[in-house]
C-alpha cells in the first residue's frame, strides 16, 4: 500500500479524528489514501507527518484536518457551528472494510431505513421514498438533496414516538457529508449530523460521525450511543456490498428514483475525475471523461 497518485483525491481536506480524541504528547499512527500518517497533539497544536513530510493541519470544528495536496477550497462553512445552544458531540471513529465513497452514498440513502434501521429510522409498513430534489450547487461545489421526508418510529435519542422527519443532505467534498434533520424537541430548526470519512486505503475507511444537535434532555452518552447503534447497523451492510469499491460504470448497479442523490453524487465524482475508492472501469471510459 502506498500513497495514491489520484490528484483529485490528494487535493482534498480529510478528517483524522476529533482533536479531543488524540492524547497529548503521544504520536498516533493512522492511515490516509494508502499512506501511513502520524498525528501528534501538543499544547501548542497538532502536527501531522505523512509521506516523509509535515502536512498542512487545520483544527476546524474541533477536528484534525489534513491534506497531501493542494485543496482548491478551504474547509466548508458550517454556520450552525456558531449557534450557542447546540451540543457538539464526537462519536468516535468506526472502522469499516469498504470504500469511503460507499459510506457517503449509504449516508445519503433514505430507502434503507426500514430494513437496516428497522423500527428506529424507518418502518417496514412505511417504506416509500417520496420524491425529493437534488442539485449541484456550482458556486460552492456541493451536492444538495432537499425536501426529503421519511416516517421514523424513533428519529433520535430524544424521540418518544414516531414522526415524519424532514431531511436535507449536503455533500461538501467527496468524503465529507452532512445531513440536516428536524429534531424531536425543536421542529423549526435543524439538527446537523456530519459524517467525516477518512479513507485509509481504497477499501478501508474510518467513519467519524460528528453531531451539532439541539437536545436539552438526553445525556451525551445517550446521544452518542444512539448514533453508534445506527452506524454499526450500517457497517453490516457496508462490509457486504460487492464490490467493496464504488462502481461508476453504467449498468454495474441499478438506481431508481429514490437513488437520485447517489446518481448525482456519482456524476459529480466522475466530473472531478476522482478514482480513489472506485471500481476500475472496463468500458474504456477514462475518469473525468
Amino acid at each position: 500500500m502506498s500513497l495514491t497518485t489520484d490528484q483529485a483525491a490528494l487535493d482534498q481536506w480529510y478528517v483524522l479524528g476529533a482533536v479531543s480524541h488524540f492524547p497529548f504528547g503521544t504520536p498516533v499512527e493512522t492511515g490516509l489514501l494508502g499512506e501511513p500518517v502520524t498525528v501528534t497533539r501538543r499544547d501548542d497544536g497538532v502536527t501531522v507527518i505523512g509521506a516523509g513530510r509535515s502536512l498542512p493541519v487545520r483544527t476546524t470544528y474541533n477536528h484534525v484536518w489534513t491534506s497531501f495536496g493542494t485543496p482548491a477550497r478551504d474547509i466548508f462553512a458550517l454556520p450552525e457551528a456558531t449557534e450557542p445552544d447546540r451540543r457538539w458531540l464526537y462519536c468516535g471513529g468506526v472502522r469499516v472494510a469498504a470504500s469511503g465513497l460507499r459510506l457517503i452514498e449509504n449516508f445519503l440513502d433514505l430507502a434503507h431505513f426500514p430494513y437496516v434501521h428497522t423500527d428506529i429510522l424507518g418502518s417496514e409498513e412505511k417504506p416509500e421514498v417520496a420524491k425529493y430534489e437534488v442539485e449541484q450547487r456550482r458556486d460552492v461545489d456541493e451536492i444538495w438533496a432537499t425536501k426529503c421526508e421519511f416516517f421514523q418510529p424513533k428519529a433520535a435519542a430524544a424521540s418518544d414516538g414516531g414522526q415524519i422527519s424532514q431531511y436535507m443532505y449536503r455533500v461538501v467534498s467527496p468524503f465529507n457529508v452532512m445531513l440536516y434533520k428536524t429534531p424531536p424537541t425543536a421542529p423549526n430548526r435543524w439538527d446537523v449530523i456530519a459524517l467525516f470519512v477518512q479513507p485509509v486505503d481504497e477499501t478501508h475507511s474510518i467513519a467519524h460521525p460528528f453531531m451539532l444537535v439541539i437536545d436539552p434532555t438526553s445525556t451525551d452518552a445517550e446521544i452518542i450511543a444512539f448514533q453508534q447503534m445506527i452506524f454499526l447497523q450500517d457497517k453490516i451492510v457496508l462490509e457486504n456490498q460487492r464490490p467493496a469499491l464504488l462502481p461508476l460504470q453504467p449498468g454495474r448497479e441499478t438506481p431508481t428514483r429514490a437513488d437520485l442523490s447517489s446518481v448525482l453524487y456519482r456524476r459529480w465524482l466522475k466530473e472531478k475525475a476522482l478514482t480513489f475508492g472506485t471500481e476500475p472501469r472496463t468500458d474504456g471510459v477514462a475518469a473525468g471523461a
Partner: protein
C-alpha cells in the same frame, strides 16, 4: 461424471426459508429455499451490490437486507419497497444459475448443462467438511460400509480449499460415517490419496 454440474451443499443444510452463502472457485453464491424449491444465484443484489445471503426469505421470495428488494423464484425483482406503486421492469433480476437437487445434494450447473449423472435415489446426508487441498480428482468417491455405501462429492471453494459433501446410500451409522469422512480429510491434507 459430467463436469457440467457441481454439488455445492447438502439439501438438508438449506431448509425452507433459509439462505446460505457458498463460495465456488472464488465466486460468491447464495443458496436459498422458498416454497420447497432450492435456488442458486450470484450473491449480489443488482441494486447496490449487497450480498443476498444476508437477506431474508418471506412468502417464498428472497428479500435483500439493504432495501428490501424482493426477488421471486424466477429471480426477477417483483417489489421495490421504496416505490410501492412501481411495476418493476422485467430487466431487473438477480443473476440465477441452473440449479437442481439430486442424491441429497444441491447442484449448480453451467449454462446449457446436460442431464445430471445417475445418483442414488434415496440418501442420508452425513456432513459437509472443509479440506485444505486442491487434490481431489474425481467426484463420487465411494466407500462400502456395513449395510450401505458412502458417496463423497466435493466442490472447490478456492485454490487450496475444497468442501466435501458426504451422503450414504442404504443404511449406516451416520456418526461413524462422519468419523470416516474426517479420516478421508486427513488423508487428503497429508497428501495421501484416499
Amino acid at each position: 461424471m459430467s463436469s457440467d454440474w457441481t454439488p455445492i451443499a447438502l439439501s438438508r443444510d438449506v431448509p425452507d426459508g433459509v439462505t446460505r452463502a457458498v463460495c465456488l472457485e472464488g465466486s460468491e453464491l447464495v443458496i436459498w429455499r422458498g416454497a420447497g424449491e432450492a435456488h442458486v444465484w450470484e450473491d449480489r443484489c443488482p441494486h447496490r451490490g449487497m450480498r443476498l445471503s444476508l437477506g431474508f426469505v418471506r412468502d417464498g421470495a428472497l428479500n435483500c437486507l439493504y432495501h428490501g428488494w424482493q426477488y421471486g423464484a424466477s429471480s426477477s425483482c417483483v417489489r421495490i419497497p421504496a416505490h410501492p406503486d412501481l411495476t418493476v421492469p422485467p430487466t431487473i433480476k438477480a443473476n440465477a444459475y441452473p440449479t437442481c437437487e439430486a442424491g441429497g445434494l444441491i447442484w449448480v450447473g453451467k449454462e446449457g448443462a446436460g442431464a445430471l449423472p445417475a445418483l442414488p435415489a434415496t440418501t442420508t446426508p452425513v456432513l459437509s467438511l472443509a479440506v485444505a487441498t486442491d487434490g481431489i480428482e474425481a467426484q463420487g468417491l465411494m466407500r462400502d460400509l456395513d449395510g450401505g455405501r458412502l458417496h463423497v462429492f466435493w466442490h472447490r471453494v478456492r485454490p487450496g480449499k475444497v468442501m466435501l459433501h458426504g451422503v450414504i446410500e442404504g443404511s449406516a451409522d451416520v456418526s461413524r460415517v462422519a468419523a470416516l469422512m474426517r479420516q478421508i480429510r486427513t488423508q487428503y491434507e497429508e497428501g495421501v490419496a484416499a
